[in-house]
Symmetry: C2
């Protein structure tokens, strides 16, 4: 009996892959963290993605380069890698924007970025007086008479006192998304939008906007938070300040594009799938390092770590690098449709699209019973500083799976500095912390492995 | 009565400075945070410090520029600003280090940084075989015979599995601080030291080292963690690898230097002083943005915010920008000695010297009763994400006040990425987050005001 016990102990200690299920969970997690925290793969792949394939708006040259680069990187760490075709609706910024503040016969150039989806003014440009509003709600109060023929300047700031920058973004976001449509309804000829950033910086931040067919389309341009403050001050002193805007945006023909998908097949229930992903596209400025190169790495490392440690997951682990999160989410929609067509069972879907900072938790939208399963594994993560297990989770790309009753989750990084990078030329590889990226990868891998091992969502 | 109540409400709502004590604490704190989170002063001052006065090793030109620049910046936000003279012992790196790995007749240059205090080799340099050890403890086991005449390569890594990088640093730190002395004891002719960083990066990280008089002095150079990994691998394949080191360090004559001190006088107990500070010196590479420009800003903003909001603190608030934290702490020692000579009562001393990331808490070393007072104000900070109120605090510069039984505290920022910057050319202004810096300033100001208002340490 004693010999048998010793043998068991020996087998438990020699880490052959089949024996992982006999390991205490905390030991398995520490092995996952150690592998992530001593490896440079994700950092180096992210560097290549950022430097060789920046400006990855769906359908662009950068986005195609990224697809092929990530496909190559995934081959050695997955059982299967494939491209899932999607049709990318395109939008092109064209020549650099020319924005000028004109007052008392003086012209001052300021940096600006057309919003994604905006029409261009062409060489003719527009020039008009400016009326400042704090969000779209004010337009109705001000009324058509004062707005007609002017450029509406949306200057609602993200509330610095809100410690949730994501919530700040949500609250101030409508002026970017719907501002042009609402301003045009009252007769405006263009809009300037204060960048959605909780920093006072010189970078303009772009992002998607929408028109509606029944209302004339007017151009929309983001200016930096510092220039928004300046313009607001200037308007208080001189309401007759004018702005001249020239933008050269266009809508080229659709292009073929792709989600990049990679899988490691499950050993017991391969028909059950855990989907983990980020988006491979990015804005056409910056390098998409935090948004969402980091999320792609968090996801890809799950496979590399499982492969390297020889972990046999019960379920199939599938990484999806979604195309076109930033504009129309054709990748997310195509993936959900495909899952539905094949009648696949997605056991869980986890998205990382909030940057590469220190991971602090996960959000989870699931049934009460499933959420309890999620809470059960929380103690395993606490030693690594991952303590926030929040009710409510998901993401822009995986939300289309929601109607299939898939539990939706997202990785939550420390959020305070994310909106200094988001959608701007400031989102570069140099702003990524090696250690924080590694911690994010470790945390995502540990979550995927634990959900599977513990059958958390049964 | 109703009129009186309305008047009280009116008075409480109109924010005249004398009325702050009638404000709920949470309102006062939110006013402090709002002031910090909507202001660019600290960010702009830090930019100037980093760009106009980088390389601020005590006694250097950069350090003197910094003293005069910060003096000027403090004038408008304090009642009194003065310079406290200290004698800076100097150390000069001199010409850029030349480090080469020599194997099989091939030479490969790698970046290196002489450790602070190291002797130089001069043009002659040294060239010898290398013996790798994991920390100073291994030297005794290996013994003189194998060490004699060689370059000892200290390759103990900061433990990536330790979620406290400060603790990692402490554990691996002795090989940098005492390595040369210990290696020389066994007859080594020089040391290479793996940089104290928990990132695998190409930056070497310097830092102070010490000799003892009874043992020959040998040169000590830090190499990057990546090159340390490379060298270790190479030595396993070929133990006859040699290293050639040339360094041109020297010790110039002492220079006059200064602590920069600024005060706002207390309104009720001006003889009681809350000291808050960081260190104005930095290493001679990089810009000292996180180490410790950020800590200087956290401290200076306390005065700016108190002044701007017209808060009347009971006690005198004194900012000290300490000279020479990095080498010999002459500033910290001089300050404590001066406090002692004047028989001053320091009510509390708070240091910030752990970088400019998101503030997550404070450490505090005080009597049990005082620590209970510290815990009492914790709930006020929790809405701002500042939740870690830890027993045990202080800092390198304020520790000299400890013998005067002063409660010692320190601001704790999120620590994971700090050692990517620390003591390296990577510690630049561009690595500072505006939002996180503002949050640090807000948190420090709120702490100082609350300790005073609540008489936490009585």
């Amino acid at each position: 009996m004693k010999v048998f016990k010793s043998l068991c102990l020996f087998l438990a200690l020699t880490a052959s892959s089949e024996l992982f299920s006999q390991e205490p969970d905390s030991v398995l997690i520490s092995r996952i963290y150690r592998e992530a925290l001593t490896n440079t793969w994700s950092y180096n792949v992210l560097k290549q993605l950022c430097k060789e394939a920046p400006h990855r708006l769906a359908g662009s040259e950068g986005s195609l380069k990224a697809v092929h680069l990530m496909y190559q990187k995934l081959l050695p760490v997955a059982d299967t890698v494939y491209l899932q075709e999607v049709t990318a609706k395109r939008w092109l910024r064209g020549k650099k924007e020319e924005i000028e503040i004109i007052a008392d016969g003086k012209r001052r150039k300021i940096p600006g970025l057309a919003l994604g989806g905006s029409i261009g003014t062409g060489d003719k440009g527009i020039r008009a007086q400016v009326i400042e509003v704090q969000g779209i709600e004010e337009l109705a109060k001000i009324g058509r008479e004062k707005i007609q023929g002017k450029i509406v300047f949306f200057n609602l700031a993200m509330d610095p006192m809100d410690m949730s920058p994501g919530r700040q973004y949500g609250k101030a976001g409508s002026q970017r998304f719907n501002g042009a449509e609402k301003a045009a309804y009252y007769g405006a000829c263009g809009t300037l939008v204060r960048s959605l950033s909780n920093s006072l910086s010189e970078y303009p931040h772009t992002g998607i906007m929408r028109y509606v067919d029944s209302i004339p389309k007017i151009p929309a341009v983001a200016i930096s938070t510092i220039e928004a403050e300046n313009l607001s001050k200037q308007l208080k002193e001189n309401p007759r300040v004018e702005v001249s805007m020239k933008t050269w945006c266009s809508v080229p023909p659709n292009e073929k594009s792709y989600n990049v998908i990679a899988e490691i097949r499950g050993s017991e229930r391969p028909e059950e799938i855990i989907t983990v992903g980020g988006h491979i596209d990015s804005w056409d400025v910056g390098e998409g390092a935090h948004d969402d190169g980091a999320g792609c790495m968090h996801s890809m490392e799950v496979l590399r770590i499982i492969k390297t440690l020889g972990i046999k997951t019960k379920r199939t682990i599938r990484v999806v690098l979604f195309m076109d999160e930033e504009m129309y989410q054709v990748g997310g929609q195509r993936y959900a449709q495909w899952v539905k067509e094949r009648n696949e069972k997605i056991y869980a879907a986890i998205e990382s699209d909030s940057g590469g900072a220190m991971p602090v938790g996960f959000g989870c939208s699931a049934s009460d019973k499933q959420f309890a399963g999620f809470l059960d594994i929380k103690p395993l993560f606490e030693p690594y500083g991952v303590k926030l297990f929040r009710n409510g989770g998901g993401g822009t790309d995986i939300r289309f799976l929601g109607e299939l009753h898939v539990p939706l989750m997202n990785l939550i990084p420390e959020p305070q500095r994310y909106f200094e990078f988001h959608h701007s030329a400031n989102d570069t590889f140099e702003k990524i912390s090696f250690r924080e990226l590694q911690l994010g990868c470790a945390t995502m891998a540990a979550m995927v492995v634990m959900l599977d091992l513990k059958d958390s969502f049964n």
